[in-house]
Protein backbone atom coordinates (compact mmCIF):
# COMPACT_ATOMS: atom_id res chain seq x y z
CA UNK A 1 0.00 0.00 0.00
CA UNK A 2 1.30 3.41 -0.91
CA UNK A 3 1.69 6.19 1.60
CA UNK A 4 -0.69 9.05 2.22
CA UNK A 5 -1.22 11.70 -0.42
CA UNK A 6 -1.19 14.41 2.20
CA UNK A 7 0.09 14.02 5.72
CA UNK A 8 -0.76 16.82 8.12
CA UNK A 9 1.11 16.84 11.40
CA UNK A 10 0.52 19.14 14.30
CA UNK A 11 -0.99 21.98 12.30
CA UNK A 12 -1.45 24.94 14.62
CA UNK A 13 -2.96 28.19 13.46
CA UNK A 14 -3.19 31.26 15.59
CA UNK A 15 -3.31 34.97 15.97
CA UNK A 16 -0.04 36.42 17.24
CA UNK A 17 -0.41 38.41 20.41
CA UNK A 18 2.21 40.92 21.41
CA UNK A 19 1.29 40.79 25.07
CA UNK A 20 1.49 37.05 25.45
CA UNK A 21 1.31 33.69 23.75
CA UNK A 22 -0.65 33.65 20.49
CA UNK A 23 -4.32 32.77 20.53
CA UNK A 24 -4.42 29.35 18.90
CA UNK A 25 -7.58 28.81 16.91
CA UNK A 26 -6.48 25.44 15.54
CA UNK A 27 -4.21 23.35 17.71
CA UNK A 28 -2.19 20.26 16.88
CA UNK A 29 -4.34 19.07 14.01
CA UNK A 30 -3.02 15.82 12.57
CA UNK A 31 -4.58 13.61 9.92
CA UNK A 32 -3.70 12.17 6.57
CA UNK A 33 -5.52 11.72 3.30
CA UNK A 34 -4.90 8.66 1.17
CA UNK A 35 -4.86 8.87 -2.64
CA UNK A 36 -8.41 8.79 -3.97
CA UNK A 37 -9.98 8.92 -0.54
CA UNK A 38 -12.90 11.16 0.47
CA UNK A 39 -11.98 12.54 3.86
CA UNK A 40 -14.45 14.68 5.82
CA UNK A 41 -13.87 17.39 8.36
CA UNK A 42 -17.06 18.17 10.24
CA UNK A 43 -17.67 20.80 12.87
CA UNK A 44 -19.71 23.81 13.80
CA UNK A 45 -18.87 27.44 13.00
CA UNK A 46 -15.58 28.45 14.54
CA UNK A 47 -14.33 24.91 14.90
CA UNK A 48 -11.34 25.74 12.70
CA UNK A 49 -12.17 23.45 9.79
CA UNK A 50 -12.08 26.14 7.09
CA UNK A 51 -9.04 27.88 8.55
CA UNK A 52 -7.21 24.55 8.41
CA UNK A 53 -8.09 24.02 4.76
CA UNK A 54 -7.04 27.54 3.83
CA UNK A 55 -3.77 27.07 5.69
CA UNK A 56 -3.00 24.03 3.55
CA UNK A 57 -3.40 26.14 0.43
CA UNK A 58 -1.44 29.03 1.89
CA UNK A 59 -4.52 31.21 1.67
CA UNK A 60 -5.09 32.36 5.24
CA UNK A 61 -4.99 36.10 5.63
CA UNK A 62 -3.41 37.96 8.49
CA UNK A 63 -3.82 38.01 11.42
CA UNK A 64 -4.28 34.25 10.98
CA UNK A 65 -0.83 32.69 10.94
CA UNK A 66 0.34 29.13 10.68
CA UNK A 67 2.37 28.75 13.86
CA UNK A 68 3.54 25.16 13.72
CA UNK A 69 3.10 21.95 11.85
CA UNK A 70 3.77 20.27 8.58
CA UNK A 71 1.64 19.26 5.62
CA UNK A 72 3.64 16.78 3.60
CA UNK A 73 2.64 16.36 -0.01
CA UNK A 74 4.93 14.36 -2.26
CA UNK A 75 7.85 14.91 0.09
CA UNK A 76 7.33 18.68 0.24
CA UNK A 77 5.94 20.64 3.15
CA UNK A 78 3.07 22.77 1.84
CA UNK A 79 3.28 25.00 4.88
CA UNK A 80 6.92 25.89 4.26
CA UNK A 81 6.70 26.21 0.51
CA UNK A 82 7.68 29.44 -1.27
CA UNK A 83 4.71 31.35 -2.67
CA UNK A 84 5.76 30.75 -6.27
CA UNK A 85 5.82 26.99 -5.92
CA UNK A 86 2.54 27.08 -4.03
CA UNK A 87 0.94 29.00 -6.88
CA UNK A 88 2.05 26.31 -9.32
CA UNK A 89 0.43 23.67 -7.17
CA UNK A 90 -2.79 25.50 -6.43
CA UNK A 91 -5.53 24.90 -8.96
CA UNK A 92 -3.23 22.38 -10.62
CA UNK A 93 -2.40 19.53 -8.23
CA UNK A 94 -4.55 20.74 -5.35
CA UNK A 95 -7.69 22.70 -6.10
CA UNK A 96 -10.49 24.13 -4.08
CA UNK A 97 -14.20 24.90 -4.32
CA UNK A 98 -16.13 27.11 -1.93
CA UNK A 99 -19.64 27.56 -0.65
CA UNK A 100 -20.50 30.59 -2.73
CA UNK A 101 -19.39 30.19 -6.35
CA UNK A 102 -20.48 33.72 -7.23
CA UNK A 103 -17.72 35.23 -5.10
CA UNK A 104 -15.14 32.83 -6.52
CA UNK A 105 -15.97 33.52 -10.16
CA UNK A 106 -14.96 36.68 -11.99
CA UNK A 107 -18.26 38.45 -12.78
CA UNK A 108 -16.75 40.20 -15.82
CA UNK A 109 -15.36 37.18 -17.64
CA UNK A 110 -17.24 34.57 -19.61
CA UNK A 111 -17.09 31.24 -17.85
CA UNK A 112 -15.47 29.50 -20.82
CA UNK A 113 -12.55 31.88 -20.56
CA UNK A 114 -12.27 31.38 -16.81
CA UNK A 115 -12.03 27.63 -17.28
CA UNK A 116 -9.67 27.94 -20.24
CA UNK A 117 -7.36 30.01 -18.08
CA UNK A 118 -6.61 26.88 -16.06
CA UNK A 119 -5.20 25.17 -19.13
CA UNK A 120 -3.26 28.25 -20.19
CA UNK A 121 -1.71 28.77 -16.76
CA UNK A 122 -1.01 25.21 -15.76
CA UNK A 123 -0.74 23.31 -19.02
CA UNK A 124 0.89 25.93 -21.18
CA UNK A 125 -1.81 25.75 -23.87
CA UNK A 126 -2.60 28.71 -26.06
CA UNK A 127 -6.01 30.35 -25.62
CA UNK A 128 -7.25 28.84 -28.87
CA UNK A 129 -6.15 25.38 -27.77
CA UNK A 130 -7.62 25.86 -24.32
CA UNK A 131 -11.07 26.92 -25.47
CA UNK A 132 -12.32 23.53 -26.71
CA UNK A 133 -10.87 21.99 -23.55
CA UNK A 134 -13.01 24.37 -21.49
CA UNK A 135 -16.10 23.27 -23.36
CA UNK A 136 -15.14 19.64 -22.72
CA UNK A 137 -14.70 20.45 -19.04
CA UNK A 138 -18.19 21.95 -18.95
CA UNK A 139 -19.59 18.86 -20.62
CA UNK A 140 -17.80 16.69 -18.05
CA UNK A 141 -19.69 18.42 -15.22
CA UNK A 142 -22.93 17.83 -17.11
CA UNK A 143 -23.70 21.42 -17.95
CA UNK A 144 -26.32 21.32 -20.68
CA UNK A 145 -25.36 23.02 -23.99
CA UNK A 146 -21.72 23.51 -22.96
CA UNK A 147 -20.90 25.40 -26.17
CA UNK A 148 -23.48 28.08 -25.39
CA UNK A 149 -22.86 28.10 -21.66
CA UNK A 150 -19.16 28.75 -22.20
CA UNK A 151 -20.16 32.15 -23.54
CA UNK A 152 -22.32 32.99 -20.52
CA UNK A 153 -21.35 35.24 -17.64
CA UNK A 154 -21.60 33.91 -14.08
CA UNK A 155 -24.69 35.95 -13.22
CA UNK A 156 -26.59 34.28 -16.05
CA UNK A 157 -26.33 30.88 -14.39
CA UNK A 158 -28.26 29.36 -11.50
CA UNK A 159 -26.50 28.55 -8.24
CA UNK A 160 -26.26 24.89 -9.12
CA UNK A 161 -24.77 25.58 -12.54
CA UNK A 162 -22.27 28.03 -11.06
CA UNK A 163 -21.10 25.40 -8.63
CA UNK A 164 -20.71 23.00 -11.58
CA UNK A 165 -18.55 25.62 -13.31
CA UNK A 166 -16.41 25.84 -10.17
CA UNK A 167 -16.05 22.08 -10.17
CA UNK A 168 -15.11 22.14 -13.85
CA UNK A 169 -12.36 24.65 -13.08
CA UNK A 170 -11.17 22.76 -10.04
CA UNK A 171 -11.04 19.46 -11.91
CA UNK A 172 -9.65 20.89 -15.15
CA UNK A 173 -6.07 19.84 -14.40
CA UNK A 174 -7.05 16.50 -12.87
CA UNK A 175 -5.75 17.38 -9.41
CA UNK A 176 -4.59 14.88 -6.81
CA UNK A 177 -6.66 16.59 -4.16
CA UNK A 178 -9.87 18.60 -4.25
CA UNK A 179 -10.62 20.66 -1.16
CA UNK A 180 -14.37 21.29 -1.05
CA UNK A 181 -15.39 23.77 1.65
CA UNK A 182 -19.17 23.57 2.20
CA UNK A 183 -19.68 23.03 -1.54
CA UNK A 184 -23.45 22.54 -1.37
CA UNK A 185 -24.49 24.56 1.66
CA UNK A 186 -26.03 27.30 -0.45
CA UNK A 187 -27.93 24.90 -2.72
CA UNK A 188 -31.40 23.37 -2.61
CA UNK A 189 -31.52 19.74 -1.53
CA UNK A 190 -32.25 18.25 -4.94
CA UNK A 191 -29.49 20.35 -6.53
CA UNK A 192 -27.20 19.44 -3.63
CA UNK A 193 -27.76 15.77 -4.35
CA UNK A 194 -26.79 16.25 -8.01
CA UNK A 195 -23.66 18.26 -7.17
CA UNK A 196 -22.51 15.76 -4.55
CA UNK A 197 -23.00 12.90 -6.97
CA UNK A 198 -21.03 14.80 -9.60
CA UNK A 199 -18.11 15.43 -7.22
CA UNK A 200 -18.04 11.80 -6.25
CA UNK A 201 -18.22 10.45 -9.80
CA UNK A 202 -15.62 12.83 -11.20
CA UNK A 203 -13.18 12.22 -8.37
CA UNK A 204 -13.62 8.47 -8.60
CA UNK A 205 -12.95 8.59 -12.33
CA UNK A 206 -9.89 10.81 -12.00
CA UNK A 207 -8.60 9.21 -8.83
CA UNK A 208 -8.78 12.56 -7.08
CA UNK A 209 -8.86 12.58 -3.29
CA UNK A 210 -11.35 14.93 -1.61
CA UNK A 211 -11.09 16.88 1.60
CA UNK A 212 -14.74 17.67 2.24
CA UNK A 213 -15.48 20.32 4.84
CA UNK A 214 -19.03 20.58 6.06
CA UNK A 215 -21.20 21.35 9.04
CA UNK A 216 -23.81 18.94 7.65
CA UNK A 217 -23.48 15.52 9.23
CA UNK A 218 -25.74 14.05 6.57
CA UNK A 219 -23.53 15.24 3.71
CA UNK A 220 -20.45 13.93 5.52
CA UNK A 221 -22.09 10.57 6.15
CA UNK A 222 -23.09 10.24 2.53
CA UNK A 223 -19.76 11.16 0.99
CA UNK A 224 -16.83 10.26 3.21
CA UNK A 225 -14.83 7.17 4.00
CA UNK A 226 -13.13 8.69 7.04
CA UNK A 227 -14.20 11.64 9.13
CA UNK A 228 -12.53 13.99 11.58
CA UNK A 229 -14.74 15.83 14.05
CA UNK A 230 -13.49 19.27 15.02
CA UNK A 231 -14.61 21.61 17.78
CA UNK A 232 -12.98 24.73 19.04
CA UNK A 233 -9.83 24.16 17.04
CA UNK A 234 -9.24 20.61 18.20
CA UNK A 235 -9.65 17.34 16.39
CA UNK A 236 -11.76 15.24 18.74
CA UNK A 237 -12.32 12.05 16.89
CA UNK A 238 -10.95 10.56 13.69
CA UNK A 239 -12.84 7.53 12.52
CA UNK A 240 -14.12 5.41 9.74
CA UNK A 241 -17.40 7.11 8.75
CA UNK A 242 -19.64 4.15 9.47
CA UNK A 243 -18.01 3.62 12.86
CA UNK A 244 -18.36 7.29 13.70
CA UNK A 245 -22.06 7.41 13.00
CA UNK A 246 -22.94 4.07 14.57
CA UNK A 247 -20.71 4.33 17.60
CA UNK A 248 -19.48 7.86 18.29
CA UNK A 249 -16.90 7.84 21.05
CA UNK A 250 -16.24 11.41 21.98
CA UNK A 251 -18.97 12.97 24.15
CA UNK A 252 -19.04 15.97 21.83
CA UNK A 253 -19.68 13.81 18.77
CA UNK A 254 -22.38 11.95 20.62
CA UNK A 255 -23.94 15.27 21.58
CA UNK A 256 -23.77 16.53 18.02
CA UNK A 257 -25.52 13.46 16.66
CA UNK A 258 -28.19 13.59 19.37
CA UNK A 259 -28.86 17.26 18.62
CA UNK A 260 -29.69 16.46 15.01
CA UNK A 261 -33.34 16.06 14.11
CA UNK A 262 -32.91 12.97 11.98
CA UNK A 263 -35.35 12.38 9.22
CA UNK A 264 -37.26 9.20 9.95
CA UNK A 265 -36.62 9.29 13.69
CA UNK A 266 -39.98 10.64 14.82
CA UNK A 267 -41.95 7.58 13.78
CA UNK A 268 -39.84 5.41 16.07
CA UNK A 269 -38.75 7.82 18.78
CA UNK A 270 -41.66 10.25 18.95
CA UNK A 271 -41.40 14.00 19.26
CA UNK A 272 -38.66 14.26 21.83
CA UNK A 273 -36.67 17.24 22.98
CA UNK A 274 -33.46 17.37 21.03
CA UNK A 275 -30.30 16.92 23.03
CA UNK A 276 -28.91 20.22 24.15
CA UNK A 277 -25.24 20.12 23.24
CA UNK A 278 -24.24 22.56 25.89
CA UNK A 279 -20.55 21.94 26.03
CA UNK A 280 -17.44 23.55 24.77
CA UNK A 281 -14.07 22.03 24.32
CA UNK A 282 -11.26 23.34 26.45
CA UNK A 283 -8.85 24.26 23.73
CA UNK A 284 -5.93 24.40 26.14
CA UNK A 285 -6.47 21.02 27.71
CA UNK A 286 -3.30 18.99 27.29
CA UNK A 287 -3.87 16.65 24.40
CA UNK A 288 -7.19 15.32 25.63
CA UNK A 289 -8.30 14.46 22.11
CA UNK A 290 -5.52 11.94 21.74
CA UNK A 291 -7.29 9.55 24.05
CA UNK A 292 -10.08 9.29 21.51
CA UNK A 293 -7.97 8.98 18.42
CA UNK A 294 -8.43 5.64 16.79
CA UNK A 295 -5.65 4.39 14.57
CA UNK A 296 -6.57 3.86 10.96
CA UNK A 297 -7.38 0.32 9.93
CA UNK A 298 -9.55 -0.12 12.97
CA UNK A 299 -12.30 -2.62 12.18
CA UNK A 300 -15.55 -0.75 11.63
Amino acid sequence: MSGPLLDIRGLTIGIPNRAGPPLEIVRDLSFDIMPGEVFGLVGESGSGKSASALALMGLNRRPLTTLRGQALYGGQDLLAMPRRSMRKLRGNRISMIFQEPMTALNPLARIGRQIAEMFVLHRGLSWSEARPRAVEALAAVQVPNPEDRARAYPHQLSGGLRQRVMIAMAMACRPDLLIADEPTTALDVTVQAEVLRLIRELCEREGTAVLLISHDLGVIAQMCQRVGVMANGRLLELRDARALFTDPRHPYTRGLLAALPRLGSRATEGRHRLADLDMTIDRNAPDFAATHLIPRGEPA
Binding site: S45, V189, Q192, G218, L256, L257, L260, R262, L263, D276
Partner: protein, 324 residues
Protein backbone atom coordinates in the same frame (compact mmCIF):
# COMPACT_ATOMS: atom_id res chain seq x y z
CA UNK B 1 -48.07 16.58 20.61
CA UNK B 2 -51.43 18.04 19.78
CA UNK B 3 -54.43 15.89 19.14
CA UNK B 4 -56.04 15.43 15.77
CA UNK B 5 -57.51 18.67 14.48
CA UNK B 6 -60.86 19.41 15.94
CA UNK B 7 -63.01 19.58 12.85
CA UNK B 8 -65.48 21.83 14.65
CA UNK B 9 -62.81 24.27 15.84
CA UNK B 10 -62.33 27.39 13.79
CA UNK B 11 -58.89 27.52 12.19
CA UNK B 12 -56.62 30.29 13.38
CA UNK B 13 -55.32 30.74 9.84
CA UNK B 14 -57.20 30.04 6.68
CA UNK B 15 -55.86 30.58 3.20
CA UNK B 16 -58.25 29.95 0.33
CA UNK B 17 -57.30 29.74 -3.31
CA UNK B 18 -54.40 32.15 -2.92
CA UNK B 19 -52.87 33.41 -6.16
CA UNK B 20 -49.90 35.76 -6.34
CA UNK B 21 -48.73 36.84 -9.76
CA UNK B 22 -45.86 39.18 -10.49
CA UNK B 23 -45.66 41.19 -13.69
CA UNK B 24 -42.15 41.11 -15.10
CA UNK B 25 -40.89 42.82 -18.18
CA UNK B 26 -38.58 40.55 -20.03
CA UNK B 27 -37.55 39.36 -23.40
CA UNK B 28 -36.12 41.34 -26.27
CA UNK B 29 -38.81 43.91 -26.78
CA UNK B 30 -39.70 44.30 -23.13
CA UNK B 31 -42.61 41.91 -23.55
CA UNK B 32 -44.79 41.83 -20.48
CA UNK B 33 -44.78 38.45 -18.79
CA UNK B 34 -46.40 37.19 -15.67
CA UNK B 35 -44.82 34.98 -13.07
CA UNK B 36 -47.30 32.73 -11.36
CA UNK B 37 -45.54 32.58 -8.01
CA UNK B 38 -48.43 31.13 -6.04
CA UNK B 39 -51.22 29.37 -7.88
CA UNK B 40 -54.23 28.35 -5.87
CA UNK B 41 -52.88 27.55 -2.41
CA UNK B 42 -55.25 26.43 0.34
CA UNK B 43 -53.98 26.16 3.89
CA UNK B 44 -55.53 25.92 7.28
CA UNK B 45 -53.87 25.98 10.70
CA UNK B 46 -55.83 24.87 13.76
CA UNK B 47 -55.14 26.56 17.11
CA UNK B 48 -52.07 25.16 18.82
CA UNK B 49 -50.85 23.37 15.74
CA UNK B 50 -47.75 23.65 13.63
CA UNK B 51 -48.19 23.45 9.87
CA UNK B 52 -45.01 23.34 7.86
CA UNK B 53 -44.74 24.52 4.30
CA UNK B 54 -41.89 22.71 2.58
CA UNK B 55 -40.25 23.34 -0.74
CA UNK B 56 -37.18 24.54 -2.57
CA UNK B 57 -36.11 28.04 -3.61
CA UNK B 58 -38.65 29.73 -5.81
CA UNK B 59 -41.54 27.42 -5.04
CA UNK B 60 -43.59 30.27 -3.59
CA UNK B 61 -43.43 29.39 0.08
CA UNK B 62 -42.04 32.70 1.27
CA UNK B 63 -44.40 34.64 -0.97
CA UNK B 64 -47.23 32.76 0.72
CA UNK B 65 -45.83 33.71 4.13
CA UNK B 66 -45.56 37.36 3.17
CA UNK B 67 -49.12 37.34 1.87
CA UNK B 68 -50.32 35.94 5.19
CA UNK B 69 -48.45 38.68 7.04
CA UNK B 70 -50.17 41.34 4.97
CA UNK B 71 -46.94 42.24 3.22
CA UNK B 72 -47.72 40.89 -0.25
CA UNK B 73 -51.20 41.66 -1.56
CA UNK B 74 -52.56 38.58 -3.33
CA UNK B 75 -53.77 38.68 -6.91
CA UNK B 76 -56.81 36.75 -5.75
CA UNK B 77 -57.92 34.55 -2.92
CA UNK B 78 -58.77 35.07 0.70
CA UNK B 79 -56.68 34.95 3.86
CA UNK B 80 -58.20 35.12 7.31
CA UNK B 81 -56.40 35.15 10.66
CA UNK B 82 -58.64 34.39 13.63
CA UNK B 83 -61.56 34.82 11.29
CA UNK B 84 -60.58 38.33 10.23
CA UNK B 85 -59.64 38.98 6.60
CA UNK B 86 -56.09 40.22 6.04
CA UNK B 87 -57.00 42.08 2.86
CA UNK B 88 -60.06 43.79 1.44
CA UNK B 89 -62.83 45.81 3.01
CA UNK B 90 -63.15 45.19 6.72
CA UNK B 91 -59.52 44.13 7.00
CA UNK B 92 -57.87 45.25 10.21
CA UNK B 93 -55.17 47.89 9.86
CA UNK B 94 -51.51 47.18 10.20
CA UNK B 95 -51.45 47.76 13.91
CA UNK B 96 -54.33 45.41 14.57
CA UNK B 97 -52.75 42.80 12.32
CA UNK B 98 -49.55 42.99 14.34
CA UNK B 99 -51.44 41.64 17.34
CA UNK B 100 -52.87 38.75 15.33
CA UNK B 101 -49.77 37.38 13.65
CA UNK B 102 -46.03 37.91 13.81
CA UNK B 103 -43.15 36.61 11.76
CA UNK B 104 -39.67 35.34 12.65
CA UNK B 105 -37.10 35.50 9.86
CA UNK B 106 -34.08 33.37 9.07
CA UNK B 107 -31.52 36.05 9.86
CA UNK B 108 -32.58 38.05 12.91
CA UNK B 109 -29.52 40.30 12.75
CA UNK B 110 -30.66 41.94 9.54
CA UNK B 111 -34.03 42.73 11.13
CA UNK B 112 -32.59 44.33 14.25
CA UNK B 113 -31.41 47.92 14.28
CA UNK B 114 -27.73 47.76 15.21
CA UNK B 115 -27.91 51.11 17.01
CA UNK B 116 -30.85 50.24 19.19
CA UNK B 117 -30.69 48.21 22.38
CA UNK B 118 -32.64 44.99 22.50
CA UNK B 119 -34.82 46.47 25.21
CA UNK B 120 -35.79 49.32 22.93
CA UNK B 121 -36.44 47.01 19.99
CA UNK B 122 -38.78 45.01 22.17
CA UNK B 123 -40.54 47.90 23.88
CA UNK B 124 -41.20 49.94 20.76
CA UNK B 125 -44.09 47.75 19.61
CA UNK B 126 -45.59 48.10 23.10
CA UNK B 127 -45.31 51.86 22.88
CA UNK B 128 -47.01 51.87 19.49
CA UNK B 129 -49.76 49.73 20.92
CA UNK B 130 -50.51 52.14 23.73
CA UNK B 131 -48.66 50.67 26.67
CA UNK B 132 -47.84 54.03 28.25
CA UNK B 133 -46.38 52.95 31.54
CA UNK B 134 -42.64 52.64 31.34
CA UNK B 135 -42.65 50.16 34.21
CA UNK B 136 -45.18 47.95 32.48
CA UNK B 137 -43.18 47.99 29.27
CA UNK B 138 -40.02 47.05 31.11
CA UNK B 139 -41.86 44.25 32.85
CA UNK B 140 -43.22 42.87 29.59
CA UNK B 141 -39.81 43.08 27.91
CA UNK B 142 -38.30 41.20 30.85
CA UNK B 143 -41.01 38.55 30.60
CA UNK B 144 -40.46 38.09 26.87
CA UNK B 145 -36.71 37.78 27.35
CA UNK B 146 -37.21 35.18 30.08
CA UNK B 147 -39.66 33.28 27.88
CA UNK B 148 -37.00 32.85 25.23
CA UNK B 149 -34.28 31.84 27.68
CA UNK B 150 -32.51 35.19 27.93
CA UNK B 151 -32.09 37.42 30.97
CA UNK B 152 -33.85 40.73 31.69
CA UNK B 153 -30.40 42.34 31.90
CA UNK B 154 -29.91 41.59 28.21
CA UNK B 155 -32.34 44.41 27.40
CA UNK B 156 -29.54 46.93 27.83
CA UNK B 157 -27.33 45.31 25.20
CA UNK B 158 -27.00 45.85 21.47
CA UNK B 159 -27.60 43.17 18.80
CA UNK B 160 -23.93 42.70 17.97
CA UNK B 161 -23.23 41.61 21.53
CA UNK B 162 -25.23 38.43 20.99
CA UNK B 163 -24.40 35.16 19.30
CA UNK B 164 -26.44 33.89 16.35
CA UNK B 165 -28.59 31.66 18.52
CA UNK B 166 -29.23 34.45 21.02
CA UNK B 167 -30.19 36.81 18.20
CA UNK B 168 -32.75 34.32 16.99
CA UNK B 169 -34.08 34.21 20.56
CA UNK B 170 -34.41 38.00 20.39
CA UNK B 171 -36.26 37.65 17.08
CA UNK B 172 -38.65 35.23 18.76
CA UNK B 173 -39.06 37.51 21.79
CA UNK B 174 -39.99 40.36 19.49
CA UNK B 175 -42.56 38.18 17.78
CA UNK B 176 -44.05 37.29 21.17
CA UNK B 177 -44.14 40.74 22.73
CA UNK B 178 -47.61 41.72 21.49
CA UNK B 179 -49.05 38.34 22.37
CA UNK B 180 -50.13 37.05 18.94
CA UNK B 181 -51.56 33.56 18.68
CA UNK B 182 -50.11 32.85 15.23
CA UNK B 183 -46.42 33.03 14.43
CA UNK B 184 -45.03 32.56 10.95
CA UNK B 185 -41.55 31.07 11.13
CA UNK B 186 -39.64 31.67 7.91
CA UNK B 187 -36.64 29.29 7.93
CA UNK B 188 -36.15 29.96 11.65
CA UNK B 189 -33.14 27.69 12.17
CA UNK B 190 -31.56 27.44 8.72
CA UNK B 191 -28.67 29.76 9.55
CA UNK B 192 -27.79 28.09 12.84
CA UNK B 193 -25.27 25.45 13.84
CA UNK B 194 -26.56 22.00 14.76
CA UNK B 195 -26.29 22.45 18.53
CA UNK B 196 -27.88 25.91 18.48
CA UNK B 197 -30.53 24.69 16.08
CA UNK B 198 -31.53 22.02 18.57
CA UNK B 199 -31.88 24.62 21.33
CA UNK B 200 -34.06 26.90 19.20
CA UNK B 201 -36.24 24.00 18.06
CA UNK B 202 -36.71 22.95 21.66
CA UNK B 203 -37.57 26.54 22.58
CA UNK B 204 -40.14 26.82 19.79
CA UNK B 205 -41.79 23.57 20.87
CA UNK B 206 -41.87 24.71 24.52
CA UNK B 207 -43.38 28.07 23.60
CA UNK B 208 -45.99 26.39 21.43
CA UNK B 209 -47.06 24.23 24.34
CA UNK B 210 -46.82 26.81 27.13
CA UNK B 211 -48.39 29.74 25.30
CA UNK B 212 -50.72 27.76 23.04
CA UNK B 213 -49.13 29.26 19.93
CA UNK B 214 -49.92 28.21 16.40
CA UNK B 215 -47.10 28.07 13.87
CA UNK B 216 -46.86 28.24 10.14
CA UNK B 217 -43.28 27.16 9.53
CA UNK B 218 -41.57 27.70 6.19
CA UNK B 219 -38.61 25.39 5.82
CA UNK B 220 -36.56 23.36 3.42
CA UNK B 221 -35.06 21.24 6.20
CA UNK B 222 -37.10 18.06 6.25
CA UNK B 223 -35.44 16.76 9.41
CA UNK B 224 -36.64 19.80 11.32
CA UNK B 225 -40.04 19.72 9.65
CA UNK B 226 -40.67 16.11 10.54
CA UNK B 227 -39.59 16.77 14.09
CA UNK B 228 -41.82 19.71 14.95
CA UNK B 229 -44.82 19.68 12.62
CA UNK B 230 -48.34 18.46 13.15
CA UNK B 231 -49.18 18.90 9.51
CA UNK B 232 -47.06 19.28 6.40
CA UNK B 233 -47.75 20.84 3.02
CA UNK B 234 -45.24 20.31 0.22
CA UNK B 235 -45.04 23.09 -2.33
CA UNK B 236 -43.70 22.85 -5.84
CA UNK B 237 -43.86 25.56 -8.51
CA UNK B 238 -46.49 27.62 -6.72
CA UNK B 239 -48.81 24.77 -5.87
CA UNK B 240 -49.26 22.40 -2.99
CA UNK B 241 -48.55 18.94 -4.34
CA UNK B 242 -49.02 16.94 -1.15
CA UNK B 243 -50.55 17.68 2.19
CA UNK B 244 -51.43 15.79 5.33
CA UNK B 245 -50.49 14.85 8.86
CA UNK B 246 -46.74 14.59 9.41
CA UNK B 247 -46.93 10.83 9.75
CA UNK B 248 -48.81 10.37 6.48
CA UNK B 249 -46.47 12.63 4.52
CA UNK B 250 -43.24 11.29 5.98
CA UNK B 251 -44.00 7.60 6.28
CA UNK B 252 -46.10 7.24 3.13
CA UNK B 253 -45.01 10.02 0.77
CA UNK B 254 -47.03 9.80 -2.43
CA UNK B 255 -46.22 12.60 -4.81
CA UNK B 256 -42.99 12.06 -6.79
CA UNK B 257 -41.75 15.49 -5.69
CA UNK B 258 -42.16 14.72 -1.99
CA UNK B 259 -40.45 11.40 -2.50
CA UNK B 260 -37.60 13.05 -4.29
CA UNK B 261 -37.14 15.60 -1.49
CA UNK B 262 -37.06 12.86 1.13
CA UNK B 263 -34.73 10.68 -0.91
CA UNK B 264 -32.22 13.40 -1.64
CA UNK B 265 -31.76 14.56 1.96
CA UNK B 266 -28.35 13.33 3.04
CA UNK B 267 -29.24 11.27 6.06
CA UNK B 268 -26.77 9.65 8.44
CA UNK B 269 -29.35 6.93 9.06
CA UNK B 270 -28.68 5.66 5.56
CA UNK B 271 -25.11 4.86 6.55
CA UNK B 272 -26.02 3.17 9.78
CA UNK B 273 -28.88 1.18 8.32
CA UNK B 274 -31.60 3.17 10.07
CA UNK B 275 -35.23 2.40 9.49
CA UNK B 276 -35.67 5.38 7.20
CA UNK B 277 -33.28 3.98 4.67
CA UNK B 278 -35.88 2.80 2.23
CA UNK B 279 -39.04 4.62 1.33
CA UNK B 280 -42.18 2.55 1.23
CA UNK B 281 -43.29 1.75 -2.31
CA UNK B 282 -44.98 4.64 -4.06
CA UNK B 283 -48.74 4.43 -3.79
CA UNK B 284 -50.77 4.37 -6.97
CA UNK B 285 -52.66 7.56 -7.79
CA UNK B 286 -56.44 7.18 -7.88
CA UNK B 287 -57.41 5.26 -10.99
CA UNK B 288 -57.68 7.29 -14.15
CA UNK B 289 -55.28 9.93 -12.87
CA UNK B 290 -51.57 10.66 -12.56
CA UNK B 291 -49.66 12.64 -9.95
CA UNK B 292 -49.22 16.17 -11.19
CA UNK B 293 -47.11 18.14 -12.06
CA UNK B 294 -44.35 15.86 -13.29
CA UNK B 295 -41.03 16.51 -11.56
CA UNK B 296 -38.54 15.54 -14.24
CA UNK B 297 -38.78 19.00 -15.74
CA UNK B 298 -39.18 22.31 -13.96
CA UNK B 299 -42.65 23.65 -14.62
CA UNK B 300 -42.78 26.94 -16.48
CA UNK B 301 -44.23 29.39 -13.97
CA UNK B 302 -44.58 32.05 -16.62
CA UNK B 303 -47.69 30.11 -17.66
CA UNK B 304 -50.68 29.46 -15.44
CA UNK B 305 -50.55 25.86 -14.23
CA UNK B 306 -52.55 23.25 -16.07
CA UNK B 307 -55.74 22.16 -14.31
CA UNK B 308 -55.23 19.60 -11.57
CA UNK B 309 -56.65 18.90 -8.15
CA UNK B 310 -55.62 17.91 -4.66
CA UNK B 311 -57.47 14.69 -3.98
CA UNK B 312 -57.68 12.48 -0.95
CA UNK B 313 -55.36 9.48 -1.14
CA UNK B 314 -55.85 8.28 2.41
CA UNK B 315 -57.04 9.44 5.77
CA UNK B 316 -55.72 12.96 6.39
CA UNK B 317 -53.59 12.78 3.26
CA UNK B 318 -53.99 14.51 -0.08
CA UNK B 319 -51.91 14.72 -3.24
CA UNK B 320 -52.17 16.61 -6.49
CA UNK B 321 -53.32 14.66 -9.54
CA UNK B 322 -54.86 15.24 -12.92
CA UNK B 323 -56.91 12.94 -15.12
CA UNK B 324 -54.91 10.89 -17.61
Amino acid sequence: MSAAPDPAGAPILKVEDLHVRFPVSGGLLGRKRTLHAVSGVDLSVQPGQCLSLVGESGCGKSTTALAIMGLQPPSSGAITVEGRPVYGPGAPDRRARARLAQIVFQDPFSTLNPRETVGRALSQPLMLHGVRSRAERAERVATALRQVGLLPEHAARYPHEFSGGQRQRIGIARALILGPRLIVLDEPVSALDVSIRAQIINLLMDLQQNLGLSYLMISHDLGVVEHVSDRVAVMFAGQIVEEGGWREVFTAPAHPYTRRLIETIPNPARLTGGASEILPPAPEPPSGSIFWPPVDRRPDISQPPEPSALVSIGEDHRARVRPV
